[in-house]
Symmetry: C2
Subunit: 156 residues, 2 copies
């Protein structure tokens, strides 16, 4: 049989399924978030800030799996939109504390209906979506743990 070379390998790959699903999600969020004037990563940062009090850049990075190279310019953009405030922590000048401005607080209400709209657009039973979410979290954690082991492996 020579027809197994014709099989679409790409669609058989879980990683590509995640990759392309993420692109579709970004596109789906676009019309919802442009009313808010936010990109999807900016929306994620706002979600963290809406959850609790103030956080440091490092804490944001731990929650979102992003580093300062990504967060610093993103937070500066949010600051220029007057949604957040950034200030060095007087207790430890290395840290930068990020807090919501009044305008940032207000956006919380405008954003309330976003998650439900996305879930509806996915058109899948809630139980299925929950199962996928749990499995993806396990996959993510397994991949990240594998890397933390990371033997130096100085080969000859």
């Amino acid at each position: 049989m020579s027809d197994d070379t014709v099989k679409p390998k790409l669609e058989q790959q879980l990683c590509f399924a995640i990759y392309s699903a993420m692109h579709a999600i970004t596109k789906a969020y676009l019309p919802l978030l442009e009313n808010l004037g936010l990109t999807y990563p900016q929306y994620l940062v706002m979600l963290v800030l809406w959850e609790g009090g103030d956080v440091t850049v490092k804490q944001l990075g731990e929650r979102l799996y992003l580093d300062s190279g990504t967060l610093t310019p993103l937070l500066k953009r949010l600051e220029s939109m007057d949604l957040v405030h950034r200030a060095r922590d007087p207790k430890d000048e290395r840290r930068v504390r990020v807090t919501l401005t009044a305008k940032g607080q207000l956006k919380h209400k405008e954003a309330q209906m976003v998650p439900a709209q996305i879930l509806t657009a996915m058109g899948r039973p809630a139980d299925d979506l929950k199962a996928v979410r749990k499995e993806l979290r396990k996959i993510r954690n397994a991949l990240l743990e594998t890397r933390t082991v990371k033997a130096p492996s100085k080969e000859a």
Copy 2:
């Protein structure tokens, strides 16, 4: 009850699970792909080329859900690495056909073990991974179809 505001909303969101899983996957691929000298998106393009004959930029975009703004510079980088060749189609000068070079063909062998290594690193039963893949594909297609409908909705 006031304690539901404390719940980590971020981790409850499927979209964030996909977003962060994708980041973890990119990181997991990094040591495997740097031997090949490829990034993950470049690897995806090579996967398509390894599957079949030559393709146009448009066909690549349809398979990978990317547009020419992303693909053109990416393909130029692959061309500068002498992995692919780009040439206008004589039958239709608008099209650019992308083909593997001899060096690009050879890389196929080096890349053979990459998918299995990633799946192993995920540390999950194959059946679970397959179920996630299928569900994600449904989600992706549902999201993309919703957008193609896109009623103009000229609101008052």
